[in-house]
């Protein structure tokens, strides 16, 4: 079960992880700013984000979800689905 509170907490945590990997300030990232186009992410950065989320939440993310993970909103959705499927 995901309450509104834990969901917001997780979103903030995911944002921290991604900003750390992309080496940007959290204030520069919005829910829809795009990692590749707006934050200069490369394919290695995408793999890093996926791998870090797997370890942090104990989930398995198939690499086929990578194309969906273009911004924070999309990543939160992918993680929420994977956590729900655990």
């Amino acid at each position: 079960m995901t309450t509104a509170a834990t969901s917001a907490e997780r979103r903030a945590q995911i944002k921290g992880i991604i900003c750390d990997i992309l080496e940007i300030e959290p204030s520069d990232m919005t829910g829809t700013s795009r990692f590749k186009e707006d934050h200069e992410a490369d394919s290695m950065g995408a793999i890093e984000i996926l791998s870090n989320l797997e370890r942090t939440y104990g989930i398995d993310l198939d690499q086929s979800v990578l194309p969906r993970m273009v911004n924070l909103d999309a990543v939160v959705t992918v993680v929420d689905e994977a956590v729900a499927a655990k």
């Binding site: 750390d20 080496e23 290695m44 890093e48 791998s51 870090n52 797997e54 370890r55 398995d60």
Partner: protein, 366 residues
């Protein structure tokens, strides 16, 4: 005789970041060995010689350094210092510039940490992919070139305490074969708890507790003509390098003596012309071997011995690289006669002996 001279060089050492702190530290004979921060560096040693407060981000910027390990940070920083010192001309022909960097096993800390994460994590693949590049031996050499846009041949050399010398030999061959117009050559080593334990278990005799050091040195090898044209001062000429293998520690002395004799012979030099010798001061069963071999060839009243182990600790793969830097520091001295010879020697417990013969710049060269 080699066509190459040493011009610009840099060091990241327990004396600090840059060739200047290194030069003054060596010339003053000041020891950089101190108590280790046991919280940061647990392990078998209480003392060591670390690059003080080293953080690569302070020298090369925060972006891209987050997942860089310590030895890579040392190497990238040292190469950056050299390029800054060498001037813009140095990076104007990146395809013609080679990079030969010596290392131990790469970073044993990175290798062990990554392997452990895979074993203790929930899944074997729950590892940090960004840290994987640190686990390969050529990470420091590769990253140094990528970071600074050096596009010529890129080589990683490992040869124990001889590493700086074998890298030098390789770099000279690379140039002689026409594979690059100039070559950056050096060696780097990091301090870590993991390396400390490996040394502790691997050493022999009474050498076990002698403190470890870390650091790196990088040299620009080019022709004297190129150095002059670019306005870079010639510090010394590389005359030659020599190597031998030995099966038993008792054969090391003869092996090294043969290297030194051969080097002198090839350079057409007499023993008496050698002013300074920098030995690796390899310990354990090989302790005293180098000094004995040097005495065999150069005589008992021989040259000044410039050992730096008491100052910098045992810097393993960086040993001979830092010895070369120490020799260049000393040749910089105004009292050094032009053309004076300097010798760097090393023996390793793996059964290798080697030396490099250098000549201080002559008046025409400098």
């Amino acid at each position: 005789m080699s066509a190459l001279v040493f011009s610009t060089w840099s060091a990241v050492s327990p004396y600090g970041v840059g060739s200047e702190p290194f030069r003054t530290g060596i010339q003053a004979g000041r020891s950089a060995i101190g108590a280790l921060d046991r919280a940061a560096f647990p392990g078998p040693f209480t003392e060591g010689a670390l690059v003080p407060d080293f953080n690569a981000a302070d020298h090369i910027g925060r972006k891209g350094t987050r997942t860089m390990d310590r030895v890579t940070g040392i190497a990238v920083t040292a190469v950056g210092l050299l390029l800054a010192d060498g001037g813009p001309e140095l990076t104007s022909r990146p395809e013609e510039t080679g990079l030969v960097l010596g290392t131990g096993s790469g970073s044993v800390q990175s290798i062990m940490d990554f392997t452990r994460d895979s074993l203790v994590g929930e899944r074997p693949y729950h590892v940090d992919p960004a840290r994987f590049p640190n686990t390969v031996m050529n990470r420091a050499a590769g990253q140094s070139a990528i970071w600074h846009g050096i596009k010529g041949p890129n080589t990683t050399i490992a040869g124990g305490r001889l590493t700086g010398l074998t890298a030098l030999s390789y770099a000279a061959r690379l140039h002689r074969g026409g594979h690059c117009a100039r070559v950056l050559c050096g060696a780097a080593e990091e301090y870590s708890e993991q390396r400390a334990w490996l040394e502790w278990h691997g050493r022999d005799g009474d050498d076990r507790t002698s403190p470890l050091g870390e650091g790196g040195a990088v040299f620009l090898l080019e022709t004297a003509e190129d150095a002059r044209a670019a306005g870079r001062r010639v510090r010394a000429r590389l005359l030659t390098t020599r190597f031998r293998a030995f099966a038993e520690p008792s054969d090391a002395r003869a092996a090294l003596a043969e290297c030194v004799r051969d080097a002198l012979k090839q350079a057409g030099a007499r023993a008496g012309e050698v002013r300074v010798v920098a030995p690796a001061e390899t310990g354990g069963h090989l302790a005293g071997t180098e000094e004995a071999a040097i005495g065999d060839v150069l005589g008992s009243a021989g040259p000044r011995l410039l050992g730096s182990r008491a100052l910098l600790g045992d810097t393993s793969a960086a040993t001979a690289g830092l010895q070369l830097a120490a020799v260049l520091s000393l040749l910089d001295d105004e009292e050094t006669p032009p053309g004076a010879l300097a010798l760097v020697t090393a023996v390793d417990r793996d059964g290798t002996a080697g030396c490099a013969l250098l000549a201080a710049a002559t008046n025409e060269e400098s």
